[in-house]
């Protein structure tokens, strides 16, 4: 092993612009950084980085490293849908195998099955899903016009619908109670779009219950149309006009929660504003209409039309935090909340069964996993001083986050010493990044 002084490395970097699309990144104290392939990270605190810049691996002192970012895998990880929060704040994604009064068995994609003592558990959230896309279009020239006599003047090209003047088309979907509606708007000279959703798509001009998205020279607005007066009410507005988008493109995302009468607007990937449907009954239909209101001669385009599932139940319940630290708490997807003791989670078909004892029943409740939103576990004595923070924080591609008092790398595996769980071995490719806080003391190495 040949140690190269850091200053020489920096000189090499400054004279050779090296870009590697498949390389780990090492950030050092100050603003220095290197790329390469991490080949080892030893207990003695030395990191070896194989770099095309040097014939031999570069040895770096770990106490100089602040962050390691690893090469993304070639295939994206399918994140499990259950999130476990540990008592120290770490997060583990996985699926629950079973639970008894002593421990939880969590099947993780990267570390395999883990047996976790109950005193290390803080909360469990179920169905932390990545949204599922159930429509991604337009698919072809007939997608929005087939069997639709009112459709006119929208044309299909390059995965988009475009028109050079007034145009309209519509399509029926089986929209769930909560859904995300995304689309990209493009315009040539001026933007003048009207898009309806949750629309019954009646063929009459009579008022109906639906939502309207309007984007034109006056800005952006989402309105509620009602079948009975008042016909229109504003849900939310944005004053930015089309001229304020130099690229003449706007990515729109509307998350519709019809159960709670709320609409969440995102523009170009950024959260903008939340609107609330002012009427007690929300539109329940599933139609969408695309309308180009611009004058003839002005091209407008709609592309990347997507419909996705949307479920914010778990995040809402997690905001309730731990209601009672001396008892377990279970919150169902229908907002019921029980205090008591979670006796077991046992495999069953079609879903696991949670046995939960409350004070108000002789026998424990038997709750299907499908009905459970969030669990909070009894917390140990909170008056004790917190443990000192661990020097390492490891992020996985599946959104898990693990603290480590020490860790060592090989080309295939990472072994870390978790402050609550002890030794854990992970696949090396499961790690997205590693943070190191050099001011914290390293603990004894992993056995």
């Amino acid at each position: 092993m040949q140690t190269i002084k850091l200053t020489h490395l920096l000189l090499l970097l400054s004279s050779c612009a090296i870009h590697s699309l498949a390389a780990d990144e090492v950030s050092l104290i100050g603003d220095s950084h290197l790329t390469g392939i991490l080949s080892s990270l030893s207990e003695s605190g030395t990191l070896e980085l194989s770099s095309p810049l040097a014939p031999e691996p570069i040895s770096l002192k770990l106490n100089q490293v602040t962050q390691l970012n690893f090469t993304p895998p070639s295939e994206p990880h399918q994140a499990p849908s259950t999130r476990l929060e540990l008592a120290n704040g770490d997060l583990l994604m996985g699926s629950v195998e079973s639970l008894d009064l002593q421990s939880l068995i969590l099947q993780t994609p990267e570390a395999g099955p883990l047996s976790l003592p109950r005193h290390a558990l803080k909360s469990l959230q179920f169905r932390i899903h990545e949204p599922e896309t159930f429509y991604n279009g337009p698919l072809d020239g007939n997608d929005w016009s087939q069997n639709n006599p009112s459709s006119k003047n929208w044309y299909f090209n390059d995965q988009a619908l475009f028109s050079d003047g007034p145009a309209t088309s519509s399509k029926v979907f089986d929209l769930p109670e909560r859904f995300t509606f995304k689309f990209t708007l493009k315009w040539e000279f001026t933007a003048n779009f009207l898009i309806t959703f949750a629309d019954p798509l009646t063929q009459t001009p009579d008022p109906v219950n639906r939502y309207l998205f309007i984007f034109n020279g006056a800005g952006l607005e989402i309105k509620r149309e009602a079948a009975s007066p008042p016909r229109f009410q504003t849900i939310l507005t944005r004053s930015r006009i089309p001229d304020q988008y130099p690229s003449k493109t706007l990515d729109v995302e509307i998350r519709v929660d019809r159960r709670n009468s709320r609409l969440y607007l995102y523009l170009n990937g950024q959260p903008e504003v939340t609107g609330i449907d002012p009427l007690p009954q929300v539109p329940t239909s599933g139609g969408i209409t695309l309308v180009n209101r611009a004058q003839a001669g002005s091209r407008q385009e709609i592309r990347a039309i997507q419909l996705l599932t949307f479920d914010n139940t778990a995040s809402r319940h997690l905001a309730e935090k731990s209601p009672n630290t001396t008892l377990d708490s279970l919150i169902t997807r229908e907002d019921d909340r029980f205090s008591g003791q979670l006796l077991s989670i046992r495999p069953s078909a079609p879903a696991k069964i949670f046995s939960f004892k409350t004070a108000f029943q002789d026998l424990p409740l038997a709750i299907s996993e499908e009905d459970v939103s969030t669990l909070f576990f009894t917390q140990p004595d909170t008056t004790a001083p917190p443990a000192p923070p661990s020097p390492y924080l490891i992020h996985l591609w599946d959104m898990s986050t693990l603290s480590a008092d020490s860790c060592s790398f090989t080309t295939e595996q990472v072994t870390l010493s978790h402050p609550l769980l002890g030794p854990i071995t992970l696949r090396r490719t499961s790690i997205s990044s590693l943070e190191h806080h050099p001011t914290k003391t390293l603990n004894p190495p992993v056995e």
């Binding site: 849900i235 939310l236 159960r259 709670n260 009468s261 504003v273 939340t274 609107g275 609330i276 449907d277 002012p278 809402r316 319940h317 905001a319 309730e320 935090k321 209601p323 009672n324 708490s329 169902t332 229908e334 907002d335 019921d336 909340r337 029980f338 205090s339 409350t358 108000f360 029943q361 409740l365 038997a366 709750i367 009905d371």
Partner: protein, 495 residues
Amino acid sequence: MILRLTLLGFFQIALLHAAESPDLLRFTNGDQLHGTFQAIHPGSLITWLREDLSEPVVFKSNLLRHIVLRQGRPAQPLASLASVSLINGDRIPGMLTALNESSITLQTSFGDALTIPRDQVSMLAPSPTGGRLQYYGPFSEDGWKMVSPAFPDGLPPPSPEEAESVGRWVFSGASWIWPGKIPNTALLRENTLPARSIIRFDLDWKNQLFVAIAFHADFTKPKPPSPDDPPRRPGGFTPGDPAVLPLLFGNSYVLQIFTTHISLFRTSINKDGKGAIDRIQLNGNPIRIGDSGKASVEIRCNRPSGEIALFINGEFVVQWSDPAAMQPGPAPDLMKGNGLGFLVQTNEAAVKLSDLMIAEWNGMPDSARSLQVDEQDIILLANGTDRFSGRVTAFENDQIHVAAKLGNFQIPLAEIAEIRFAKNHLSTPAEPSPENLTIRFSPFGQISGAPLTGSSSAIPLKHPAYGETTVRLDSAVMLEFHPPLNSIEDWDADH
């Protein structure tokens, strides 16, 4: 000369007796008369006694607004806070004794048992707020104060000269009314909030709603302006000017409620004695308050942790966490005050504040979609955390039986704070009789019906839902003759 002195003396004695008379009668035309309530008769006749009258006088109740008994103080406060709320707005003090699919029976705190059809009952509250009530009213002006930028220590007694220069809240029966003239007078109540509090109240308004509610206010005064400070406009603060908020409330949380959205601020008086405002919520949260001109507002505030939750008309709106509470290190010096204040921030918009309840809160956030749903009964436990939905089926052995999706529960009545019955299973309230009388209790509660012959100790009422019941007046503080079906019409009678 002797006759004149005698008459003068008699008049002075009469005045003295009038001042000591325990009850107060207010008429719909604004007149009022001290004296003693004697009796009520069929045909809506009230017998009233004054020492300076040779015999009791009889008034027709259709000209009466209300009678305040014993200056708004009960002879004997209710021993229990348990109550049953009806769809017509009555909140009857009493404890549940029987329940089945069709009716609810309670032992009232003021008389006999009462059996009510179940579809008339919107809520059972065996232990509302877990029994930690701090205040309910207003039934008198006691403990309330008005301030403005011109009078930071309190408004002086009203005078004819001030009519065009100072706005005042008006106390009327069981409510405070802001008439909508001459802005920037706040209504305050000091030393009233526990560290973790639920503040629940009803608002009625005309035109649009723009009201600021200050809570955990310490009413610290800013330094008086120095000669070097730029002069304010001759008219003072314009309606809606947020700069007035720290001047009126000191260090405080301030929730602004508009008809369409809300905002939350933290006001403060810095070390230089100047007022400052920080917005806690970046974007005004939209709300659905409706066009009815009436809303029920509930604020839950955990002052030590900085967590605040808002419900409007029983529906959860939003939760905030004060960023100042999230800073690492020792807990920052957050709002230490325990005062409450109200300020209407728009011109020509009358507002009525009533049914204010202040209770201790256990501090738990609650993100339930609503405290009442359409198809299911909701059972909220007194521990402030547990919440069940289902169908309440029976009451046996002091336990409420609930048929829920996850099974059947038997919950001791003593562990239940409230049961809110499914909206879709409720009837619609009947039109009240023209002779309708509402009897209000202390600390809270009311019952209404057509009065039969009664005395100063008890009045029988007749109601289409539960028939006849006799109400002892030991715990009553007000007899209201025209409970407003429409608050706006009621205000028109006075303003």
